[in-house]
């Protein structure tokens, strides 16, 4: 029972070390608080030849509740321009929310979802409310209040 989330993450890590899907690569998993992956969309797409850095943060409620997931935005990294990705790296994806998350989902399953979300993008544009959202958003995407992120529903 103790540290069940680190045991579960350890299992996932063993699988990740044994191999990840094409375009998804582990960059750093030195702790069980934060993991980093690069995400690349394979084949022809709006994001050809681009690599994005995806950050996972876990607390001891994982996997009963979803990890906090976002693209890293800093001097060397940018978030992909996508109707469901804010320019601060926050992502609007159902499986990251309480309703869509399931404890049988995994870090790699999330990576695949984000990868396919990018792959299926028809038009590279930011969320409609990006300018409203980004200045007010908290640092951790799991702490966003409900009123803040609305545009993807209208998009």
């Amino acid at each position: 029972m103790a540290l069940a989330h680190t045991r579960r993450l350890n299992k996932e890590l063993a699988e990740i070390h044994a191999g990840t899907p094409v375009g998804i690569n582990l960059v750093n998993a030195d702790t069980f608080e934060k993991w980093l992956f690069t995400i690349e969309v394979m084949g022809t797409s709006e994001y050809e030849a681009k690599k994005f850095l995806l950050m996972f943060r876990f607390d001891n409620t994982y996997p009963i509740s979803a990890p906090a997931v976002q693209f890293v935005v800093d001097d060397t990294h940018k978030a992909p321009v996508h109707p469901h990705v804010y320019s601060n790296g926050h992502i609007c994806a159902s499986i990251l929310g309480r309703e869509g998350w399931s404890p049988v989902l995994t870090v790699i399953a999330v990576c695949i979802t984000i990868q396919s979300m990018l792959a299926s993008c028809k038009k590279k544009e930011p969320p409609l409310d990006n300018d409203r959202y980004v200045p007010r958003a908290p640092e951790n995407p799991k702490k966003v209040s409900i009123s803040l992120m609305v545009s993807p529903l209208l998009a």
Binding site: M1, A2, L3, A4, T6, R7, R8, N10, K11, E12, L13, A14, E15, H17, A18, G19, T20, P21, A29, D30, T31, F32, N60, T61, P63, I64, S65, A66, H84, C92, A93, S94, I95, L96, G97, R98, E99, G100, W101, S102, P103, V104, L105, T106, I108, A109, I112, T113, S116, M117, P141, K142, K143, V144, S145, I146, M149, V150, P152, L153
Partner: protein, 335 residues
């Protein structure tokens, strides 16, 4: 790494993993006996109405967050939880046989320098084959042929008629009487033997007085420190731990003192504190993926990887937890 060392490290590792096996078929067998939530071998496996199985503790924890099956997402609640005794026996047998199978499979899969004797001595651990389980206990409890929980002999018909829901002789008029019966000093140590089928009821803490919750905790010999929220969280988790322990067969159950310790650990980990509410669900209904397919894809991709197994290591510096040594319980014998 030398053959011997690698084998030894696999055996020493608390982290049994399907990829330990060179043969894919054995890896599949191994992973089919693990819970999809914790990824470990089922502990006290239970099924829901949809037929999916989880560790009792895992699914009870999951239900505090969402009342659905994590695999197929059908609505689910605590009332659907049924122990799957056959699966528990399969898992325990597999755990006992696993090291041996792993040795044989590894020796078979690659050329081995170990003699059979060495292989055997390398795996001769605490795993001894289970003896037959008893069907009727000394206290006249009978193994229900449907759900395989122990039910008082005179209550078995009513139990089966109720769809395996009722667990004892006709219910007491007052819940309070039930609680005191469960927790009273007199019965607490023998509670598990005298009524192994007992589950603690789900309570509506909102309508309860702080004093009542404190009373329940004290009867269960648990800490009564903290405000009503803390008391509620503690009793809620106690109920989960207690009930999931009850979902294990008698020979796999832990004593109450051990469960109290687990509850303490849980509080020390800070899980008792209110979890951040994810507000994200309301607006994150887009991109509803067929997540079962997703899991399948993720799983398949694993088996398609061609990296050598030996490179599957824990990276240096990872805070790997001390392996938890599971207690070996003596199987009960039938005369």
């Amino acid at each position: 790494m030398s053959k011997r060392n690698r084998l030894q490290s696999l055996l020493d590792s608390s982290i049994a993993d399907p990829s330990d096996f060179p043969q894919r078929e054995l890896g599949h067998l191994d992973s089919s006996l693990t819970c999809k939530i914790c990824r470990e071998f089922y502990r006290g496996p239970v099924s829901l109405s949809c037929g999916h199985c989880f560790c009792s503790l895992c699914i009870r924890n999951s239900m505090t967050s969402k009342q659905e099956c994590p695999v197929c997402r059908k609505c689910a609640n605590e009332g659907q939880i049924r122990p799957v005794a056959a699966l528990e026996e399969i898992v325990e047998s597999w755990k006992a046989a696993r090291a041996l199978v792993l040795t044989l499979a590894t020796a078979n899969g690659e050329s081995s320098r170990l003699t059979p004797e060495e292989s055997i001595s390398a795996i001769a651990g605490p795993s001894t084959p289970n003896k037959r389980r008893k069907l009727v206990s000394e206290d006249g409890l009978i193994d229900c042929p449907i759900c395989h929980t122990f039910v008082p002999f005179d209550a078995i018909n009513m139990h089966i008629d109720s769809g395996c829901k009722s667990t004892s002789t006709p219910s007491k008029p007052k819940q309070k009487a039930e609680w005191s019966k469960v927790f009273s000093k007199r019965s607490k140590d023998s509670a598990q033997e005298s009524d192994p089928d007992r589950r603690l009821p789900k309570l509506n803490y909102h309508t309860m007085k702080e004093k009542q919750i404190r009373e329940l905790l004290s009867q269960a010999e648990l800490s009564t420190a903290g405000d009503k929220n803390a008391l509620t969280a503690r009793h809620q988790q106690w109920t989960i731990l207690y009930n999931s322990n009850q979902d294990r067969s008698a020979s796999q159950r832990q004593d109450l003192e051990r469960i109290r310790k687990e509850l303490k650990k849980w509080e020390a980990e800070g899980k008792a504190r209110k979890v951040d509410i994810d507000d994200t669900d309301e607006y994150q209904r887009l991109h509803k993926q067929d997540f079962i397919e997703l899991i399948e894809r993720a799983r398949r991709s694993r088996f398609h990887s061609h990296k050598p197994q030996s490179s599957r290591g824990r990276e240096g510096g990872s805070p790997i937890e001390e392996p938890e040594v599971s207690e070996v319980t003596d199987p009960i014998e039938v005369d």
